[in-house]
Point group: C2
Chain length 104, copies 2
């Protein structure tokens, strides 16, 4: 799906790490939520309260999930799942476009 | 208005200047279009095909419209209008959140 229809978009951006990671919140009629974001190259660590499905729409990055010893490499596309109440590390190599779904 | 309801959001980001300026496209039922974007600090020049209304949602920046000799300073809020078929210069001092409306 290249676009989300009949949704609500929160106007203000979510800004993290001095703007190196930003996103917009998209709210769906069924009460679910996604964020569409961009990450500039850099190293970041995020915590997930609920399960997150991270879909990579563009960019090169490496991801280290909690408890894992090996980084997963993404090149332009792919998806990874962050279990609820865990944190994950990102090593973003090129500007990365993503869609994060929050599973509640 | 803090959010846009019953809209379509294009999933993929618009990326300019190596990701230092990015936006998402929001399409409205009446056929109109806005982009919600973020600009990292830096100097940029953009051209507008159609008239653009740029609303600043956050951030500090200076703007020079075509034909003007004086930069306009924005500090966290405000709005400027870019006439169709003109270009404008931006000197973004802090991470800037914006909403751009395209007037056709």
């Amino acid at each position: 799906m290249s676009q989300f229809e009949n949704v609500t978009v929160v106007k203000k951006a979510n800004v993290y790490f001095d703007g190196k990671v930003t996103s917009r919140t998209v709210l769906f009629a069924d009460g679910s939520k996604k964020t569409l974001g961009v990450m500039m190259p850099g190293e970041y660590e995020f915590g997930a309260d609920v399960q997150e499905i991270m879909e990579i729409l563009g960019g090169e990055l490496k991801v280290l999930l909690a408890g894992d010893s090996e980084w997963i490499t993404f090149n332009g596309s792919g998806e990874f799942i962050v279990p609820a109440k865990t944190s994950f590390k990102l090593n973003v190599l090129t500007v990365t476009d993503y869609c994060c779904s929050y599973v509640v």
